[in-house]
């Protein structure tokens, strides 16, 4: 299992659109994906569960992957978050 931290850049945090985008990418990963925030651990492939954590703009989350391709998967997900999860980010 590997983990990585990242700050969520999205202006409205991980609301339904970016949560959906994250889950979409996570589903393409063969690893199990969890997001850890505020002592809560949720299934990263379920937008509803991501939503329930209530991650806001600027919050730091930990992404955890475990599986055969865990390193590659983690990198993919970190990149996806960094690039804004399909949203336009205000610099």
């Amino acid at each position: 299992m590997v983990t990585g931290n990242i700050i969520v850049p999205n202006p409205s945090g991980l609301h339904v659109r970016p949560a959906g985008e994250f889950a979409k990418v996570a589903k393409t990963c063969s690893s199990n994906v969890t997001i850890i925030f505020n002592e809560k651990e949720v299934n990263g492939k379920s937008p509803v569960n991501i939503l329930m954590v209530g991650i806001k703009c600027g919050d730091e989350i930990t992404i955890s992957c475990s599986g055969d391709d865990e390193e590659k998967d983690l990198q993919t997900l970190l990149d996806t978050v960094r690039s804004g999860l399909g949203e336009r980010l205000v610099k």
Binding site: V16, S46, L51
Partner: protein, 574 residues
Amino acid sequence: MRCKGIPASKGIAIGRVMHYVPWHPEPVLGGIEHSEVRAEIIRYDQGRNAAEKELDDLLSQSLDTSSDRREIVDAHKTLLLDEAIDSEIRSLISGDLFTCDQAIDQVYNQYIQEFSQMDDALLKERAADLTDLKHRLLRCRQGLPPGRSLQDLPEPVIVVARDMLPSDTATINPDVVIGIVTEQGGATCHTAIIARSLGIPAVLGVPDALCHLADGEEAIVDAVEGVVYLSPSINERIAFEQKQKELAQKVADALQYLHREPVTLDGVPIEVALNIEAPSERELTAAAYTDGVGLFRTEFLYMDRSYPPDEEEQVELYTRVLRAYGSKPVVIRTMDIGGDKQVDCISLPRETNPFLGKRALRLCFDEIKIFKTQLRACMRASVHGNLWVMFPMVGSVDDIRRVKAIINTVGRELDEQGIRYCQNIKWGIMVEIPAVAVIADLIVHEVDFVSIGTNDLTQYTLAADRMNPDVAEYYQSLHPAVLRMIRHLSEVFQANGKHLSICGELAGTPLAIPALIGMGVRCLSMGRESVGMAKKIICNLRLNDAKSLAEEVNKLPTAGEIEQALQVFNESYL
């Protein structure tokens, strides 16, 4: 071809019939056998695919409309395809042998509850999305098409339906819905109240209306006599167009009295107050020509939403109304739910007899958190105006004392939190359960005021469901028993110097007003559409004549004879 029904909202409509058959979720319950699991999973998959296709269709349709709508549909799609929800549903079907509907219902409800309890406003909204989605999914699972809307219609229509729920009537656009006909219902049901407030002619309780009145056909709704004509002849059309003009004239006539002071010819002032629900601008500006709000119904706050209204939302609303009415009393009725007003945000027991069941105040005693929230909001808002609060479905002095204990608790809590509230709030009750009328002399010492809800009082006194067209003939609003109760209450409350009003339909019924005044009633609260006519009657009435009428009526044994006497009086006054 003509059908008869109950005239519920006066007027005449001439137009085309549109069938309105909305779908409300009725999940198929019960369990399944082990052998049925595979088939049930297939049913679920089919339902989910159908729902997905509907959303895709919506997306491709709205290419040129607001991006807001697209975002919502997109979000719904994301939620629909959520793998956690999906796997939980599947496991309930295959592991716990649930029907797919029950599995969908349970899983979605769990998430809906969790979201609705979140502090973040955006996240709370997801509860509404999930509720919407759950309905769509259940509907698709049952293979039913989406319903028609009552808002954007290409041309004005006469809506014909089996029944209408408050969630349906809330969407009515009076510019396109020019008439309403339903198979269920009567003169006092929610549809009737909404139709009257929107000025839409309505005939309800028309058996098999959907069968007799074909979709797309021309019809005339005569909501004066309570008759609906299908495919009218040219002559019928001309005759009714004339009647329409005459009615419009009468309405314009009554409007002349709108801003007059309601005082009888011999100088007796009668308070004319307003019944309101979700207050529109017009209802707030009505403060200029009414003596206050005699009934502020608050049920709408709890309808069509997955979570009950919070304290802040209620404080804001009550404050707005109190400010609009200045020093004039605003009587807030605490939520009167159960009976014909089912809601999503509170789990109501399925009762065989909801009108005799756990509704209104009884429900509030159980749902104490929701009740206290409403009381807190009322008390916090009270500093902004002249607040009176009344409780529905009170049947005994026990009920009143129980409520008072809760009020005291809430007051203490507010005191501890240093939150101000008015010390002079008037606390009263609705008179709807006959027991209260019978022990009026005992009740009068326990309350600051009462308001008679004649709709329910009549139904309980005469043991006739006011929404069941089959027993419409037994629901007699002019029954001598009802009038005598009103007279008795009026005498007791006048003798004790406490305020009494009538807020049921009878208060705004032109025929009844003189007799009510003659019995001693000095405050009538009604829908905005009735104010003009009520004032016209009051301003042309002599108290002595009203008293004689009341005495005459008191001796008559049947509602029919009473109605006749009132008609004669009415005509002699024209």
